[in-house]
Amino acid sequence: MAKKMGRRARKFAKKNLQSVMKRKRKLNALFQKKFAPRRAQSDSPEESKNLKNDMQTPVDPEQEILDGIVSTNPFGDLFIKEDDDSAADASDSDGYLSEDPECPYISEDEEESCPEEMCKDVVLLEQNTEINQRLKNQKRKLSKLCKKDPQFSKFLESRRSEFLKSKSEEIYSDDEGDTSSMDDEYIVGNEISQVSKVITSSTVDVWCWLVMEQPNWPGLANLLNAFRAACHYGLDTGEVSPVKIANREVFCKILTFVLSEAKRIFCGLLRISGFSNKETILKMKNKPEWKTTRSLIKSFLRSSLFLLNQETDNQILVFVLSQIRLSILLFSAFPSLTKKLIKISIHLWVTGDKDLSASSFLILRDIASEFSLDNIDTCLTKGFGAFIANSKFMKPQNIEHIEFLENSVVELYSLDIQKSYQKVLMSVQQLASILRLALKTKEKDELKKIHSWQYINCISLWVKFVSCNYKNHDLEQLLFLIIGVIKGIAHLFPGPRYLPLRFKCVKMLNQLSFSSGVFIPVESLLFDCLEIRGTNNAEGTKLKHLDLALLLKVPNQLLKSQDFQQASVLSAIKLLAEHLSQWCYHVSFPDLATIPLILLKRFHENTSIESVRRPVKRFIDQVQQNSDFIQRKRDEVSFSPKDKESVDSFLQLEKCDRSVAFTKFYDNMLQNALA
């Protein structure tokens, strides 16, 4: 139910349909579970509150870090701006287009095609019939009265006209502000067509046919008005719609037809082949046709945005978004609408499910790549802000979503490195200064700021950004800064409790090292976990699966458990393999592996955890094997370490083939992890 109804509809139900609300409340429990991550922010404060209470970590410091990140950098005004936007939304209401009076209307008597049958909402229907019954009774009573006393009907008439007068005055005083902002030039208010025309399915068919046949058919305005009415359908906006939609088929037809054919229609009107890039739009603005089409286009865009705002069903939203995307360049002519579109898309991108999120991201990406610089800026800042606001918590359910969001932000920022570099640098410097403060003061609050998902996700976002773009751009400074920050984090949180956090750091360092080709020593960060010693009794608190990826800090009760030790040793080996595999063709691999090998061998001898012995042994053997292999190879060569070119060309052939056993071992390891 919540999915089917728009916001207005829900409000109405709340007011008038108590029994429905009761049922809804029952259902809500189910919905909450299903949709909590998606709609948490937008739907009801209660829901999100519950959600927050579920989290183990307290909310306040997280909020702080967000504020910390957000407030002092260019992304800062993000949340303040939003209010202005909503205010603008309210005043920016659109009207109907002036219609072509010649337009054919085919009246059929198909209006009452019993939508009740289709509607599954029995409660509402029952209520409707009940009210209808009461209404009939009361009307009968009234007519009796009128019959008895003809004077009374006159009295009633006068009263009613008085009432209407006063009411219309009220409306005008309320709406004055709104009407002034309307585009009066082309859009004619509702007073012209007070009598609403009923649009039947055959009318729509004829219209569609006409529109497709004649690009310049004047009845397009009527069609767009109908489209607008359809978008606004069911929402009591106070105004009388000039068109009335006869039934659901008409409704459906209008929406789908206009949305999917909009591009072709407007292209035809403007006599261009398509919206390929910005230049065509600029050219188009100078064409004489633009004047006449502008209002039509604007009406269409507005209505679609309205639909996006109202609709709650994911699939419909995806459909609308994908259709809008085809003619996205039309938005570039209307900056205010573009802003709205960005806002809606960001909202859907962050809160929507997989498909919806993806399609809204595509919209954002199109805007960022095609539109003016101003819009790119908004996209970047808002996108980052939304990501940060949504990355406070990591749960098994949203890990994928957050990763997607992260990837999309990287995509957005990678579009124009020149532009985004400043932003990224600023953000990383912000992170660095938080870290520096924490390193100096070691205060609990400062540490908490860093020890939060927001901070870590932010870092990992920029790590991804750097590693994606390092090859093509000069990002060295940024790289070094980020490495410094990550090393600082690892340094700031020693001890086994923070091993998950440390693993994340090492992973990021490996990622950076892979993409940039610089050498980043990480081994010493991993040796610690070879020395954790816990009690060997794994009684009772045996966890099904300990996912270190979802933790930053190990809860105390797990610290001594065998599960944790096992998980940490295995992760350490994985990360070590990652690190070593990068240099497994390098001439100094044996030396790089020396210390890890010594320590791992010792660990293998001493460990009491049987379950890790085998993987550790296997790893040791593999490393040793590769080490011996490189040793053999380098004994054959005659160049010295300082001979840089020779060193670089050492075993390059094998590297390209990925033929060495260790590579295979590592690839296997990766596949196993995925499986």
């Binding site: 089917k4 109804m5 728009g6 139900a13 008038n16 939508p115 509607c119 229907l125 009210i131 209808n132 209404l135 009361q138 009633l156 069911g234 929402l235 039934n247 659901r248 459906c252 929406l255 699939q315 459909f319 993806a358 990837n407 995509e411 990678s414 124009d416 490195i417 570099y421 400043q422 773009n469 090859k471 400074q477 940024l478 790289l479 410094g484 920050v485 090393k487 600082g488 340094h491 020693p494 050498f519 980043i520 020593p521 010493s524 610690d528 020395e531 010693r533 390098h586 030396d591 790089l592 020396t594 890890p596 090998l597 010594i598 010792r602 001493n606 380098r634 005659s638 370490p641 840089k644």
Partner: protein
């Protein structure tokens, strides 16, 4: 300060005021000294300031003014008391009346409080609420004026005796009046005032008022703990001030029998009273030290006494208590005691070194009694000891030192005298001149013990210190031996079970040059055992890596300072270091210690055996591949040093087929060998450097590059650019904080020539993205239809409701209509009737 005033006046110092003047006004002066208030008040009558003050209290009747002044006086002393207290709580030293320019101590205190009283007069608030800032402000404002007025007061006091008498009368009257309405709070306040008054008198004229000490002492038996505390603190202030600069020796019976002058008798009485009260005070403090609620105050008093008057009688008793508390679990008490002990060690001139020895001996006893389970601070204090090696080398030199010392002693005394000589005191002092000369002579003899004595004391102290250190080491090795048999869980607490080891090692390092040769063998054995490496890693050794490194460092320090000539094999320590490099964990162990160990063991000292040097070079290179930038940097600096010193090791830089010829016993490099001499590192090549040049940290990569280039440079030349940086410095320079604060440039230059938008996806799979967009249109259609249906029903519902409401309201309107109709009808009938 008081004690300094007592110190003998150099005979040639001329008194400031003519003798005849003093004789005439002696009594007056005394009166003024005791009742300075009145004089000050009198003189102020005609100054501007008093006018202002009168205006301030304008609310009172002019008749009450005198009473007000009385009140002010009372308050002044009260505040003085409070002021003393407040300050004593902060820092007892500050509580002492600060000497003004003309050398009068007590006046300033009084004046200050008086001005406070004036400012506080208007708002009759609790004295306790007064804060320090007020004091400072008023003090500065008024000091000058007050000083001037004081001088005038002295002159006028001689003339206007009448006024004095009058005021005194008033004073007693008002006091009597006040006493009548004494509440419990009043009592407390009154006691405080009394304490303050007595204290003040004592400070003003200790000779005359010495008996009041007993009264003060009595106060300390009060039931109210606050009073007790106040009493103790004020006594502390008094004693610190009046205790003379010499040790009091009570006269023997024989001496008592001798007939002496009046002045000597007076002095004897004074001294014995002082000593007895002091004894009683100490007894009280020592008793209170056992009560938990008063312990802090008692220890504070004792510690500051020890700090201020270590030369005086009963020092042993104080010292015993202070040392007893030196490892107290209470942080403040421990800190107080540690600081007092440190000041004993640092200011040996105050007590001639005896106290130092006593303190060290007491600490040694503590360590023995508690079996080394003390707070590290208690051993830490020993590191502030200083040992003068020059004492008594040749006799002449010692004599010179002695003379110099004597001179040093005299000069400050003299200057003190100079300032302390005040008009009012001069007479007394001139009377006591001969007596003081005698005592001064005695002091100068007893306080600068001859060099032989001092040397003996110092060597005893030293041996006591080393006794402590060795006891700790012995205990550590013993427990180490016993602990290794217990379970591995104790490993994590290893360092905390030997709390004294770290400061002990530090101390040994500091005094390593003083260690007796006889101890050397034992010491080395201990250190070797402690640093001991076992194949099974840290489980067997309860010491942390840092502590073991410390052991190595100490051993090297000791060797270097004493017996470079003596051949003790340090090979074991090199083995330790070689293996400890693997045990080191960046955030668990102290990197500075590692860097220092590298510096002392590898960079400094003799040239190393080639095998060993090569082994270390190889290990350090490997080490820097695995560890963070700071550690790597320290290792590389050391490596460079080693390469510079051992030119033959530069073969490691070259992949030379002949390299193997140098490798003695072991021809192939064994990376996991535990003995550097058996690692065969000479046969290896420093391939690590090629990877290090790719290091993200630019300083490390450039360092690696510079090391690589060393091989090709002529050995003679390379000596020129011997790097000066020590490993320790390198470690600090590349710490994480430094790394973070490097500046970053503001722009990114694209490797692509022109700025253009990147249209390709960098991360995501474009096909997946496009496919994800496909929607089932039928499904959408169905959903749209559903949506329509729902909305339709809802709109219908809304419409029906509206209509229903409308009809209902219409029906309800009918009644109104009827009413109106009736009225109308009535009106028409009326009109009809009226017509």
């Amino acid at each position: 300060m008081g004690k300094k005033r007592k110190v003998i006046l150099p005979p040639d110092l001329p008194p400031e005021v003519a003798d005849n003047d003093i004789e005439v006004s002696d009594e007056d002066l005394e009166f003024i000294g005791q009742n300075r208030e009145y004089a000050g008040f009198l003189t102020k009558l005609d100054t501007k300031s008093i006018d202002r003050h009168v205006k301030r209290v304008a609310g009172h009747e002019s008749d009450d003014l005198e009473a007000l002044y009385e009140q002010r006086k009372r308050k002044a002393s009260l505040l003085k008391r409070n002021d003393d207290d407040d300050k004593l709580q902060v820092d007892p030293v500050d509580a002492l009346p600060v000497k003004t320019l003309d050398g009068k101590l007590e006046y300033r205190t009084v004046d200050r409080t008086k001005s406070e009283a004036i400012t506080n007069e208007k708002d009759n608030t609790e004295e306790n609420e007064k804060d320090m800032s007020v004091v400072k402000l008023t003090k500065k404002e008024k000091r000058l004026k007050i000083k001037k007025s004081r001088k005038e007061a002295k002159k006028e006091a001689k003339v206007e005796e009448k006024g004095n008498v009058g005021v005194e009368k008033l004073h007693t009257e008002v006091l009597a009046k006040v006493e009548e309405d004494l509440s419990a709070e009043e009592l407390f306040r009154k006691k405080k005032i009394k304490l303050a008054e007595i204290g003040l008198q004592l400070l003003e004229n200790p000779e005359e008022n010495i008996k009041s000490l007993k009264e003060l002492l009595k106060n300390c038996d009060d039931g109210n703990q606050n009073i007790v505390k106040l009493g103790l603190m004020s006594l502390l202030a008094v004693f610190k001030d009046i205790i003379p600069g010499y040790r009091i020796r009570l006269p023997t019976e024989k001496e008592m029998e001798m007939t002496v002058s009046k002045a000597v008798l007076k002095q004897r009485f004074y001294e014995s009273t002082l000593l007895n009260s002091y004894k009683a005070y100490l007894a009280k403090l020592i008793a209170m030290e056992k009560k938990p609620s008063l312990r802090q105050v008692a220890v504070r008093c004792l510690a500051s006494l020890l700090d201020a008057v270590p030369h005086f009688n009963y020092r042993e008793n104080i010292l015993a208590i202070v040392i007893k508390n030196i490892s107290s679990p209470d942080d403040t008490i421990r800190k107080l005691c540690c600081n007092a002990t440190k000041s004993i060690f640092l200011n040996e001139g105050k007590h001639g070194g005896e106290a130092t020895f006593e303190a060290v001996r007491l600490i040694a006893q503590q360590v023995k009694i508690y079996e080394c389970q003390l707070h590290p601070d208690s051993i830490e204090v020993l590191s502030s000891l200083t040992f003068d090696e020059d004492i008594g080398k040749p006799d002449t030199q010692a004599e010179a030192v002695k003379i110099k010392k004597k001179g040093k002693w005299k000069t400050p005394d003299g200057s003190n005298k100079l300032q302390g000589s005040e008009k009012k005191k001069t007479r007394q002092e001139s009377l006591a001149k001969t007596r003081e000369e005698v005592t001064a002579d005695f002091k100068s003899v007893s306080f600068a013990p001859d060099s032989r004595e001092r040397k003996r004391m110092q060597s005893e102290t030293l041996s006591a210190v080393f006794e402590i250190y060795f006891r700790i080491l012995k205990h550590s090795t013993d427990s180490h031996a016993s602990r290794s048999t217990t379970d591995a869980a104790s490993f994590s607490h290893g360092s905390s079970s030997l709390p004294l080891l770290a400061p002990c090692l530090k101390g040994l390092g500091k005094f390593s040059h003083l260690i007796d040769l006889d101890f050397m063998g034992d010491l080395m054995r201990c250190l070797k055992q402690l640093a001991g490496y076992s194949d099974h890693g840290t489980i067997q050794n309860p010491l942390s890596v840092s502590e073991r490194l410390q052991c190595c460092i100490v051993a090297f320090r000791v060797m270097r300072n004493n017996l470079e000539a003596l051949n003790i094999d340090l090979q074991d320590f090199f083995v330790q270091l070689y293996n400890l490099l693997l045990e080191y964990r960046p955030d668990r162990d102290q990197g500075e210690v590692l860097a220092e160990a590298l510096k002392i063991m590898l960079c400094e000292g003799k040239q190393h055996d080639m095998q060993r040097a090569a082994a270390f070079i190889k290990r350090l290179a490997t080490f820097s591949l695995s560890y963070g930038s700071a550690e790597a940097m320290a290792a590389l600096v050391t490596l460079k040093h080693l390469l510079q010193k051992n030119s033959k090791c530069r073969n490691l830089l070259e992949n030379d087929a002949g390299g193997g010829s140098l490798s003695g016993l072991v021809s192939k490099y064994q990376p996991d060998a535990t003995d550097p001499n058996l690692s065969g590192a000479l046969g290896s090549v420093l391939w690590e450097l090629s990877l290090l040049t790719k290091h993200y940290n630019s300083s490390i990569s450039s360092m690696a590059a510079s090391i690589m280039s060393m091989g090709s440079v002529n050995p003679a030349q390379s000596q020129v650019f011997l790097s000066t940086a020590s490993p320790l410095q390198a470690f600090r320079d590349s710490s994480i904080l430094c790394e973070l604060s490097k500046p970053t440039s503001k722009s990114a230059t694209s490797r692509q020539k022109q700025r253009e938008l990147q249209k390709d996806y960098v991360l995501m799979d474009p096909e997946v993205m496009q496919n994800g967009n496909l929607v089932d249109e039928d499904e959408v259609r169905r959903k749209l239809e559903d949506r329509f249906a729902v909305h339709k029903v809802i709109t219908e519902n809304e419409r029906l409701r509206k209509e229903l409401n409308h009809t209902l309201s219409s029906i309800s309107l009918y009644e109104e209509y009827n009413r109106q109709k009736k009225q109308k009808r009535r009106r028409t009938t009326k009109r009809v009737l009226g017509d």
